[in-house]
């Protein structure tokens, strides 16, 4: 698979299917693993990084479950390619800043990705559309079991999987769920909900993970604690919290729909109107407006537009995607024009 082949299909996390897909965008499990006796990437020299890279890619090539994968060496990718993979949630922003001795392995369906020499030697991620953490964990656990047969992991019975940062020690697992909460934001309840989550040792982040802002009413909720609780127990806790947030978002949507329908329809249709008629638009504005159109679609206030087509716009309007689609480097101003053009074309009302 070449990197451009990814362009031909939508990203898994935006497929818009799976349980509770009106509110839950995607479920993700990340496992951090390191190799015994070898320095962690930040402390390793070039030779050690290369050694890890070879060892891990060899191990991956022996696993039947990972047959349909491609290794992307970061030193062979340009900055647009890297950003493209970040936009598709296949690797982290931090990983994209590096090159030598670093790689990401991606399966053709984009459900599994393994970053090599990010903060830890291995960061494997399994991502699925909708509210699906258990199934996602099952896949991640299986891949991990196969890899453990090939790779000598750094592990202590008392402290579990040993990671570069002690905040990941133990299971090395981070389970996260991406939520779309426009009604909680509009009714100004979201801060209260997020504050409650923080008290329970859960993290909230924006669309692109660590250090990013909540954009377009998207929030990523994940566990903070990785030691002292088993994987399924952690997932059970996340699930419990997510179910409550889904319930709250549903209530807020119903409340607005019954009490404040005119305001809601106004906001949604104005957003739709801007997207259909703008000639210059930033990616931030695009996401914020698409978020409201998505809500309109969920509530049946907007019709004649296909959910998959809408979801695809979230990703194909991102900077690197635009440049990949156009197959050339574009300045920020050129992108804003191109973006508006693509949106107008895709949202052109057909009837």
């Amino acid at each position: 698979m070449k990197i451009n082949d990814l362009l031909s299909h939508g990203s898994e996390w935006l497929r818009g299917t799976g349980p509770n897909s009106d509110i839950v965008i995607s479920s993700r499990i990340r496992l951090a693993r390191n190799l015994f006796k070898i320095s962690f990437p930040h402390w390793a020299n070039k030779k050690q990084c290369e050694q890890v890279l070879t060892t891990v890619t060899d191990a991956v090539s022996k696993i039947a479950l990972l047959k349909q994968t491609t290794v992307f060496n970061l030193s062979a990718l340009d900055s647009i390619d890297k950003q493209f993979l970040v936009e598709r949630h296949l690797m982290s922003h931090d990983h994209a800043q590096k090159s030598e001795g670093r790689a990401v392995i991606v399966d053709n369906e984009e459900i599994v990705s393994i970053m090599i020499n990010e903060e830890d030697h291995l960061r494997m991620q399994v991502m699925q559309s909708g509210f699906n953490l258990y199934e996602t964990w099952n896949i991640a656990g299986k891949i991990d079991d196969h890899l453990a047969k090939e790779l000598p992991y750094a592990f202590l019975p008392d402290w579990g999987y040993l990671t570069a940062c002690p905040t990941n020690t133990g299971t090395g697992m981070r389970g996260s769920v991406m939520l779309h909460l426009p009604a909680l934001v509009m009714t100004r309840q979201v801060d209260r909900v997020l504050a409650a989550i923080a008290k329970l040792s859960f993290n909230t982040r924006g669309l692109y993970g660590e250090g990013t802002q909540a954009l377009g009413n998207f929030f990523q909720i994940s566990n903070q604690v990785s030691l002292g609780h088993g994987e399924e127990e952690i997932i059970g806790n996340i699930n419990g919290i997510i179910r409550q947030i889904i319930e709250q978002e549903h209530q807020a949507r119903e409340l607005m729909f019954s009490k404040n329908r005119a305001m809601l329809e106004d906001k949604i249709n104005r957003s739709f109107g801007i997207l259909k008629s703008a000639y210059i638009i930033s990616s931030q504005e695009t996401i914020e407006l698409l978020s409201l159109v998505r809500l309109g679609l969920d509530l049946g206030l907007i019709k004649h537009i296909d959910q998959a087509r809408l979801n695809d716009l979230f990703i194909s309007t991102q900077p690197a995607h635009l440049q990949k689609i156009e197959n050339k480097k574009l300045t920020s101003e050129e992108r804003d024009v191109k973006r508006a053009q693509i949106i107008r074309k895709r949202l052109g009302v057909s009837n």
């Binding site: 390191n34 190799l35 015994f36 006796k37 070898i38 320095s39 962690f40 930040h42 402390w43 903060e119 258990y134 656990g141 991990d144 079991d145 453990a148 047969k149 000598p152 992991y153 750094a154 592990f155 202590l156 019975p157 008392d158 402290w159 579990g160 999987y161 040993l162 990671t163 570069a164 940062c165 002690p166 905040t167 020690t169 133990g170 299971t171 697992m173 040792s201 604690v225 990785s226 030691l227 002292g228 609780h229 088993g230 994987e231 399924e232 127990e233 059970g236 699930n239 419990g240």
Partner: protein
């Protein structure tokens, strides 16, 4: 009021800093305030936070901790306090005494519960403890999905295992 930073623009942001118990008021224009907040963000990363947590107390014992060096990768405890990252898996053994309370502070526990790699089960004689843990995980899941018959079966199975093998207590959870 003019900005304390540049002395040119009108101060619109009023900041109270407390450094070493000294209160200091700052009146800044928007631009200087932005610069100031960037300073704060850049100076305060995760490394500082963890380093700060690892900073147990500044006494003699602490001096000893700082000079400990991981025999495998050469990272010192002082390095760890500075960068907030360990150097390799062996660092966990080298700094064990100091990491245990740190892990407890971060996670509220310093005992791993959860899966183990296949080789660990074999070489570390973990099998039994792991089995029980896996069953507990399944039990948790069954309860959550309201599969109560399955849950009852699992509960009995765990009880059975727990009663049967105190001689293998070594591998079991200390809790």
């Amino acid at each position: 009021m003019l900005c304390d930073g540049c002395g040119k623009n009108q101060a619109t942001v009023h900041l109270t800093e407390i450094v070493n118990d000294q209160m200091n008021e700052l009146h800044l224009c928007e631009e200087c305030a932005r610069k100031k907040s960037q300073d704060v963000e850049q100076n305060f990363g995760l490394g500082d936070l963890l380093g700060g947590m690892a900073d147990i107390n500044k006494n003699e014992k602490d001096k000893e901790a700082v000079s400990i060096k991981c025999p495998n990768c050469g990272l010192t405890y002082a390095d760890f306090r500075k960068i907030g990252r360990l150097g390799c898996g062996d660092c966990y053994n080298a700094f064990k005494k100091y990491l245990a309370p740190l892990l407890k502070r971060i996670h509220g526990s310093s005992q791993h519960v959860g899966k183990s790699p296949v080789f660990a089960k074999k070489t570390l004689g973990l099998k039994k403890g792991i089995d029980i843990q896996e069953l507990r995980n399944k039990l948790q899941r069954a309860v959550e999905q309201e599969q109560f018959e399955e849950a009852a079966r699992l509960r009995d199975q765990i009880k059975n295992l727990e009663v049967k093998g105190p001689e293998e207590g070594e591998a079991d959870r200390k809790a």
